[in-house]
């Protein structure tokens, strides 16, 4: 009888552990804890190329977005506030746009974006970059938080809540 009870207890504990481990790792993605891949390059709206290595030494929030993505447009005002508040303390938000460059230019003024927006000649190139960064379905908004040491801290498909974003950034600012 004791053996059966022990068996049941272990099964329940293992089931719970398996479930939580599954959900946790399913969300985490496989880039977290690894360095941001080298050699990723995009252009600014003037056509000047930028490598993501340029931002090493700062807490980098890469926020992939598009003008056709409602949740992205909803999230951007909070990012603008955070860049203003935490920029002097080492935060650098960068917004790679999965979009047509003219569509992006047309919306920049409305959005009041105060951080670099990067594009590629073809949106498909940006989609491939997102795949490389563990976003196989190409969903937007897509964010990666990268530490000052270049290690990816967090991967997120979908919006952050304002509180979560603020807490995450303030707890990882470079010292």
């Amino acid at each position: 009888m004791r053996t059966i009870l022990l068996f049941l207890f272990i099964c329940i504990v293992a089931a719970g552990g398996g479930f939580f481990a599954y959900r946790h790792f399913a969300h985490a993605g496989n880039v977290v804890g690894k360095p941001l891949p080298a050699g990723i390059q995009m252009n600014d709206l003037d056509g000047k190329p930028h490598a993501l290595e340029e931002y090493r030494g700062k807490l980098l929030l890469l926020n992939f977005w598009a003008t056709w993505c409602g949740p992205c447009l909803h999230e951007i005002p909070e990012l603008v506030k955070l860049q203003t508040e935490f920029g002097p303390r080492g935060l650098q938000i960068v917004g790679p746009a999965v979009d047509d460059p003219d569509a992006v230019r047309g919306m920049l003024g409305t959005l009041g974006i105060n951080y670099p927006v990067l594009i590629t000649a073809e949106p498909e190139t940006m989609i491939k970059t997102m795949e490389q960064l563990d976003n196989p379905v190409g969903g937007l908004p897509f964010s990666l938080l990268v530490g000052a040491d270049g290690i990816i801290i967090r991967r997120q498909i979908g919006e952050f809540s304002a509180g979560e974003l603020r807490e995450m950034i303030s707890s990882h600012l470079p010292t």
Binding site: H27, A66, C69, H74, G139
Partner: protein
């Protein structure tokens, strides 16, 4: 009947625990699959917005999608063209009335579950293939890049 040894009992316990953990994870996911998708189990766009068929009738083509639960397509982001370009003259797509959705892009009409777009044929010529463009999102607040797919036009079955 031989009594089980402690080693055997331990193996049975370990096996049971392993099976329980696997079935808990898989079973819970199966249960959740009938609810809203989460960011972790977002469908690839081809499954979220499955372009099912382009069926040719006498003077129109019906293009249909099967849209997964929890996902929707924007009316204003549907586009159709004959493939190769200019191989047939297509009229303006006739679309059903969609559900209203207000978001950061203003007032929109969106489609869920099943969608059929009717393309009138002008000049009596039908294309052999269609280039179809569409874009949609998941209810959890994730949007997919515009998709372009080329689909064969097949004769309708009576």
């Amino acid at each position: 009947m031989t009594r089980s040894t402690p080693t055997m009992r331990a193996m049975v316990v370990a096996l049971g625990a392993l099976l329980s953990s696997v079935s808990a994870a898989a079973g819970t996911d199966a249960l959740w699959s009938h609810k809203q998708p989460t960011a972790a189990d977002l469908l690839p766009p081809a499954q979220a917005f499955a372009l099912v068929a382009a069926e040719q009738h006498q003077d129109y083509i019906d293009v249909s999608w099967s849209i997964a639960p929890g996902y929707y397509l924007y009316r204003k982001r549907l586009a159709f063209a004959a493939e190769p370009a200019g191989s047939a003259a297509l009229g303006t797509a006739q679309l059903p009335v969609g559900a209203k959705l207000q978001d950061e892009q203003g007032d929109n009409e969106v489609y869920r579950d099943l969608l059929t777009a009717r393309l009138p044929l002008h000049g009596g010529r039908a294309p052999t293939r269609l280039r179809v463009r569409f874009q949609g999102c998941a209810d959890i607040g994730v949007c997919y890049p515009p998709q372009t797919q080329v689909i064969d036009v097949v004769a309708s079955t009576p």
